[in-house]
Symmetry: C2
Subunit: 339 residues, 2 copies
């Protein structure tokens, strides 16, 4: 049966007739403890199946070795891949991560932050919910004196570290690609302008058109929730234009998929009649017909870099953060939808 009581340092100390302090030091290979004692302690620890009490050591050391992570949702390939790589780096450094989802809700995000602070995490790595405009709950993290690292969805005003891809340049890469294929009327199903990354994609799109001497047509720029359903709606709207676009650049793969469905249903040939490019390189982009051109966001690198940024702060004594952006180049994955 189960040992009702967990083994503590004291149990080991009693068994070996030494002080709990000596046991603690032996477990941490303190140089002032003899090898004989260390061996004995470790042997007895194993015998009694000793598991250190994290709460006690965290309380005493003022450090929980936990990192909180907030993502809008885990069921996208991008975020789950970021998480996986983040975790690998942090685990190696002796940290464990607590994953929370905001479900794109501002309220939930606030609650998540409270939970994480309450759990005494040593730092928070977050990607902001779509709904979030007010930043006071993020300020709370900073005023707690623990590092805050943002990725993908960030905000300059917080003056903290940020890791993400170059959204502005990505739009350029996409537009150049479409122009090269002969497209003249490129529509953009974009996200809400208030979210920085989507705003950057819109700006990039506009500037890239200018650079290629193409006219800016406001009817070809639509703001969208970027869900599959909204992608469908916005595509239907675009098809009703007198002068139809010959290419669609959607700021998310889900919206692009919605657009693709509408195009397929209307027997509009992709890529011959209208070319289509998505964003995010979700696994399904290679699965649909025709397969979809998209932007890969280097989720692995983002996860690793965000984790390492946290570790840099963890190694220091005091946390002094400033706006420090690490911007990665995104990669265009060309597939059938734009060939």
């Amino acid at each position: 049966m189960a040992n009702k009581k967990r083994t503590t340092l004291k149990d080991i100390a009693v068994k070996l007739n030494i002080s709990p302090a000596a046991v603690s030091k032996a477990m941490h290979d303190d140089s002032r403890i003899s090898d004989r004692t260390k061996e004995a302690v470790k042997r007895v620890a194993k015998e009694l199946n000793y598991q250190p009490n994290h709460l006690a050591s965290a309380l005493r050391k003022g450090k929980s070795n936990l990192v909180g992570v907030i993502v809008p949702r885990t069921n996208s390939n991008f975020f789950s891949s970021v998480l996986e790589n983040m975790e690998a780096v942090l685990n190696k450094a002796g940290y464990n991560i607590i994953i929370t989802q905001s479900n794109e809700s501002f309220e939930k995000e606030c609650k998540n932050i409270d939970t994480l602070l309450y759990t005494q995490v040593d730092g928070i790595i977050a990607s902001m919910a779509n709904e979030t405009v007010d930043l006071s709950h993020y300020e709370k993290i900073k005023s707690n004196g623990i590092p805050l690292i943002l990725f993908d969805r960030g905000e300059n005003d917080l003056n903290v570290d940020y890791v993400g891809i170059n959204d502005y340049d990505s739009s350029h890469v996409i537009v150049e690609h479409l122009v090269e294929k002969g497209c003249k009327r490129i529509a953009h199903i974009g996200g809400y302008r208030r979210t920085r990354i989507f705003n950057n994609r819109i700006r990039g799109y506009v500037d890239a058109l200018k650079k290629n001497k193409l006219p800016i047509d406001d009817s070809l720029i639509v703001e969208s929730a970027l869900t599959l359903e909204d992608g469908r709606l916005k595509m239907e709207k675009l098809l009703k234009l007198k002068d139809r676009p010959d290419a669609i650049y959607a700021a998310s793969d889900y919206a692009a998929l919605g657009a693709l469905q509408v195009l397929n249903e209307n027997r509009i040939n992709v890529p011959n009649d209208i070319r289509l490019v998505g964003f995010g390189n979700e696994p399904f982009t290679s699965l649909v017909s025709p397969s979809m051109t998209s932007i890969d966001q280097h989720s692995k690198d983002i996860g690793r870099i965000a984790a390492n940024t946290f570790l840099d702060y963890a190694a220091k004594d005091d946390v002094k953060q400033s706006l420090n952006k690490i911007i990665l180049d995104a990669e265009l994955i060309v597939r059938d939808s734009s060939k």
Copy 2:
């Protein structure tokens, strides 16, 4: 700037010239504390921005109010939906959850369990990795005296609570549906038999064939890793049979999608030439062409029930678990691929 030091109960006590014990009781609305004192304490707590130290209270109370969750991966719709609903129930009861991913790896699963036990969680809710055969790490949870609840991917031998759908019956529902459509040679791209749920689906498939007086053809039953790639391979293999199947029942939507791609590439009409049914009701099933018939696993209910099962144990003094299965009926969502 940030308050370098966090506010503690003692700070409030000093300010009000009462004992920390009284402050603690006031914060918890102890009946033996006067309303006057309670009000004063709460006012000062707000003034000083007091945040209780979770580590200290958890250590003292021997209860962390954290629940650990282990899933194979978060980027499937099923698991992310389970997590969302689980979290909602647990949050309401004052618990927070720590999500970890095993990535289907036995080794990672062991590490996750160690992490969660180390973090002093009050219970663990888990869905087992595909690789897992040895159960000793799960036994470790039980011997720690905290409740263990399994869902979706469980194991009878552990003698703990389990929540899942009726895989055996689901296979019957699928086979009946295909038989009704006139199918005579139904192939099954199944998972590995050692995983209980997949074994049950295979058994259900075989028994349902028998029940419908259809012959059992071993060449129509293939064991698969159930990934998209493996679904493709297994479908290609099935197409090479002298006597081709007229229906495919895949034990995962990803494998079914692989099969669908191969069928589409070979210009085999789905559903007219071969009918296709998947499992899991992943969002893409309604997005592909033709849309795919699949089984919905009631992720919301599973998440809620698993959470409530944990809460039942949390309310009790001692944890005495036994094999206790809660089996939900799954629902067949009929789409174009089998119409």
